[in-house]
């Protein structure tokens, strides 16, 4: 037992510029708490008696507080992160199935820390946006908490078995949530099946990739610390890389694996749509980062051009599809795919800077995507119609929601003052050297998405009100808070990516981009542009 504790204690290291408040709290089992606390509470909620729905609000409130606590822990991890130390921190490594080389190995590098924070914020917003759930409340929050645990778990995993376990575990709760609480009873079952099909197939492919990686690397282990440095043959790396891209594409809804996003993000209730767009889809980008860029250097170099073109094609396609649709929720769903394309372009850029941008877009893109699907869902709910032909002139009737929708729109296409802008800046700066055409294609996709955003805002907010449309009702405070939380995060990320400083010293926040860079600089060194030959020029 003692060794178990010792294993879990994070190793401290010096930080040249100490963040105010850093080093105060030493927290063992931080990651396990973040991952398993929602599961534990889900089990509690599952067993609490609830005669005639008397404690429905308790389910909602307690889930909120538990998630807030998890977010608090993620924030602790974020500000305690030693930004000048290489490798994962807060590590917990215990033998799990030793005979099969499986360890319960959790750890968080800068990217994981940031994604954990993003997941926490997105889940909190999802729960706030779920305040209107009135049927089968217990089951709803139990499944929501289980899904939260799954997306957090795969981010912390340093062992491929653990990663695969959490990756696949996220599917069933979300399928049940969509099938059980979908907006349109007629279509929600089909939507759930689509999610199960696409995500299940993605899990299957990921499992194959993991097994191939482990089988060819030898060593009877699934630990990333070993597999990441296994130095496989290029051919194997390419095959594993292709499998990883397919698995990640099934979550990021890359073309042509985007069929589920249109259905799920359009049919799920607002809270679930926010969770899927903000946390579920980003896990695809995280997988690319963790398995492709960090572990398969040769494979990444070979696949980079294709991946970049895929990002561009997806962005253009989804932008055009968003221009075409008449359903506001489907429009939001297509737009939510676009930030993921910037992540993929960054991952394909294979320069340190593009990888920084890709990692940053896992946060910025998550918030922007969650905000746009959430805002579209709330608009559809409040305006009592999803038809863009009927919607119109809501700017006067729903002013707060209008601002949030405008922010969501400009956030998706990455205009200044938003976190996605910083991510785009870094990604494009880093990508043009390697993926020249892919970067231009993605920029074209952003342009089309911009046109779609403009059309959306014209139709919903600024156009003439439709006298035949049902009267829009005001937005409840909790839903506004949910969207405002996302909007505030988006702007904060865009304004102070390096964190606020007092007299040149970081204050409370070490700066998201610094935390990300601490890990990216290490893994991306292999992708650094070559030095000029001696006497060259």
């Amino acid at each position: 037992m003692t060794s178990l504790w010792l294993l879990a204690i994070p190793t401290p290291s010096a930080t040249p510029i100490p963040v105010f408040g850093s080093g105060v709290i030493g927290f063992s089992f931080l990651l396990s708490t973040i991952v398993w606390a929602p599961v534990a509470w889900a089990l509690v909620l599952a067993t609490v008696p609830n005669p005639r729905g008397r404690y429905d609000r308790f389910f909602y409130g307690s889930s909120f507080w538990v998630t807030l606590g998890v977010l608090g822990l993620a924030f602790f991890g974020y500000i305690q992160f030693q930004a000048f130390t290489v490798g994962p921190q807060f590590e917990e490594k215990l033998p799990w199935l030793p005979a099969y080389g499986i360890t319960y190995h959790l750890g968080a590098d800068g990217v994981s820390t940031l994604v954990l924070l993003a997941n926490g914020i997105v889940t909190l917003a999802a729960i706030l946006a779920s305040s209107g759930i009135r049927t089968r409340v217990r089951e709803y929050y139990v499944l929501l908490l289980l899904a939260e645990a799954a997306v957090n778990g795969l981010v912390c995993a340093r062992d491929l078995f653990v990663l695969t376990l959490f990756w696949a575990a996220a599917t069933v709760p979300l399928v049940l949530l969509v099938t059980g609480w979908g907006v349109q009873p007629v279509r929600r079952r089909a939507a759930g099946l689509r999610l199960l099909g696409y995500w299940g197939a993605g899990s299957l492919v990921l499992l194959l990739a993991v097994l191939l990686l482990a089988a060819t690397a030898g060593g009877n282990t699934f630990d990333l610390d070993y597999l990441g440095k296994a130095g496989l043959a290029s051919r194997v790396q390419v095959v594993v890389g292709i499998l990883v891209v397919i698995a990640a594409g099934s979550r990021l809804a890359l073309w042509p694996l985007h069929g589920w996003a249109r259905e799920i993000l359009a049919e799920a209730p607002a809270g679930i749509a926010i969770l899927v767009a903000g946390a579920g889809m980003r896990s695809g980008g995280y997988l690319l980062f963790r398995l492709l860029d960090a572990s398969l250097h040769d494979g990444t170099r070979l696949l980079a051009p294709i991946l970049a073109m895929l990002a561009g094609a997806t962005a253009i396609w989804c932008g055009l599809a968003a221009l075409r649709t008449r359903d506001v929720r489907i429009l939001g769903a297509y737009l939510a795919v676009v930030p993921g394309c910037v992540t993929v372009l960054g991952a394909a850029g294979v320069t340190p800077l593009s990888l920084d941008g890709a990692a940053y877009s896992l946060f910025g893109g998550a918030v922007a995507a969650a905000l746009v699907v959430g805002a579209c869902a709330v608009v559809a709910e409040r305006a009592l119609t999803r038809d863009l032909g009927l919607l119109g002139g809501l700017a006067g009737r729903l002013p707060r929601l209008s601002w949030l929708l405008v922010l969501a729109g400009v956030g998706v296409i990455g205009m200044p003052l938003t976190g996605t802008f910083v991510a785009e800046l870094l990604v494009f700066f880093g990508s043009f050297k390697i993926s020249f055409i892919g970067a231009f294609a993605t920029a074209a996709g952003l342009l089309v998405a911009g046109a779609a955003v403009a059309r959306m805002l014209q139709r919903i907010l600024f156009g003439a009100p439709n006298p035949d449309a049902p009267a829009a009702t005001d937005v409840p405070l909790t839903e506004t808070w949910a969207l405002a939380l996302l909007a505030g995060t988006l702007i904060y990320l865009g304004v102070v990516p390096g964190g606020p400083k007092v007299a040149g010293i970081p204050f409370l926040d070490p700066g998201a981009i610094n935390v990300v860079n601490a890990s990216v600089a290490d893994l991306a060194s292999t992708y650094a542009p070559p030095a000029p030959p001696v006497g060259g020029g």
Partner: protein, 463 residues
């Protein structure tokens, strides 16, 4: 080694004998007491036997001049059988079941499987498995299952006879050493494939009621699924371990058959109209993975197969028994609201049978997959994973129907007439206990899988 190691078997037989007394004529009041306390006593005895097995069975050695071997495989297999029996008896609703009903047969079948697990002779293994399977088939209360099982057992016997002739004896060690370097030839491959195929067929047919749709009692179906599968699985693993040396002759064929079984089971589970059929197909699909594990013919694979067999038989028994008389489209609607414990146990078991993480089934399937990949059976692995994906869809249907489907959503009657409004305390507690057991199988995967790994070593080396 002391003969105390036989205590669990002895206790099992004694309990089985005791259950026969329940068929005696009693006064109404006594009958009520027997009805109330009999099954609980049986569960207690089974748990005691399990405890004894885990305590005494840890020692390794032989008895009866080597005819009975207590090794890690025996320990693991017997513990799994006892746990499955306990889960089955506890999960059954004894207000609806007859007493003693199929209790003696179930315990006898369990004893057969335990015999197979400890035997060191090919024919003793066959006899033990045959006892288990026959007893299990008999609990379905129809002739067809017994006939089917018998026919398949005959096929297996033919293979064992061939082995006897080839090795010049029926001892497992003899067969192991004789086939150690046997070149893979067609005359060798065919009988081995037929024998192993027969065992594999018995394994996956057990949850399917050996091809019958006779309206057996829920407990009978559960016993058939669990004990039958345990008997066949133990024999398959044991024979597979013995034949590992000649694996090139049969492993690809078995892998192909296994992949086909998983795929068929998964496909069936997606559309099966009745929850009972879905559960059976889920179990059959997962047992296909056990067959695939045997095809890997190496320690990790066989260990994973044993681990998965343990998880599957417990889940299969529990799920089949817990379904009781709920059947037909929408029969599960509102179960989560009426009997949350039972619904939870049912759903957890179904999800485990579909290898949905993080339940025991997933651990087992992952470990088998890893071994299949190591053995180079990528094609079989891909097909089988596809089958598991489809199975997950089937399990999701069960979960949806049990917890999310309102009674008014379906045209089916809200509840089968015989289902009580509230379950008895024992039944409810048993359902919760079964859920905990199923979750515990993944929580404690570490010692369990380690034990299975050691058991596989015993299979391959004989000590």
């Amino acid at each position: 080694m002391t003969t105390l190691v036989l205590a669990p078997e002895a206790l099992l037989v004694a309990t089985g004998g005791a259950t026969l007394l329940m068929s005696g004529r009693f006064r109404a009041r006594t009958r009520a007491r027997v009805q109330r306390w009999g099954p609980r006593a049986v569960v207690a005895a089974l748990l005691a036997a399990l405890g004894l097995e885990l305590w005494l069975g840890a020692q390794v050695g032989t008895l009866f001049a080597g005819g009975f071997a207590q090794d890690r495989f025996a320990l693991f297999a017997k513990a799994a059988v006892l746990l499955a029996l306990a889960a089955g008896v506890a999960a059954a609703d004894w207000d609806l079941e007859r007493l003693p009903g199929w209790l003696p047969a179930a315990l006898l079948g369990g004893f057969g499987a335990m015999v197979a697990a400890s035997s060191t002779d090919l024919f003793a293994v066959w006899a033990g498995a045959a006892l288990g399977i026959a007893a299990a088939a008999s609990t379905l209360g129809a002739v067809r299952p017994v006939a089917v099982a018998g026919a398949l057992l005959m096929l297996v016997a033919l293979c064992l006879a061939y082995l006897h002739a080839t090795a010049g004896g029926s001892s497992l060690d003899l067969a192991r050493s004789a086939l150690g370097e046997a070149p893979a030839t067609l005359p060798l491959a065919l009988p081995l494939l037929i024998g192993l195929g027969g065992l594999a067929a018995l394994l996956v047919l057990a949850p399917l009621g050996f091809g019958t749709t006779a309206e057996a009692s829920p407990f009978g179906r559960g016993v058939a699924a669990g004990v039958g599968a345990a008997g066949a699985g133990v024999a398959l693993l044991k024979v597979g371990g013995v034949l590992a040396g000649a694996a090139t002759a049969w492993a690809p064929g078995l892998a192909a058959g296994a992949a086909g079984l998983v795929l068929l089971g998964g496909l069936g589970a997606v559309v099966a109209p009745r929850p009972r059929t879905t559960i059976s197909l889920l179990a059959a699909s997962q047992l296909g993975w056990v067959v695939a594990a045997v095809a890997t013919h190496e320690q990790a694979g066989l260990g994973a197969g044993l681990f998965l067999l343990g998880s599957t038989v417990v889940a299969a028994v529990a799920a089949t028994t817990l379904l009781r008389d709920l059947d037909g489209e929408g029969a599960l609607a509102g179960l989560g609201a009426r009997e949350p414990g039972r619904a939870a146990a049912l759903v957890v078991a179904a999800l485990s049978l579909a290898a949905v993480p993080p339940l025991g089934g997933f651990f087992g399937v992952f470990l088998v997959s890893s071994s299949l990949a190591g053995a180079g059976f990528w094609w079989a692995l891909t097909l089988a994973l596809l089958g598991s994906l489809l199975a997950a869809a089937g399990a999701a249907r069960i979960a949806f129907a049990a917890f999310l489907l309102e009674e008014e959503d379906t045209r089916a009657p809200a509840r089968a007439p015989s289902t009580r409004v509230l379950p008895s305390t024992f039944t409810g507690a048993a359902a919760v206990a079964v859920t905990l057991v199923l979750i515990g199988y993944s929580l404690f995967a570490n010692p369990i899988s380690g034990l299975a790994y050691q058991a596989a070593s015993a299979l391959l080396t004989g000590h």
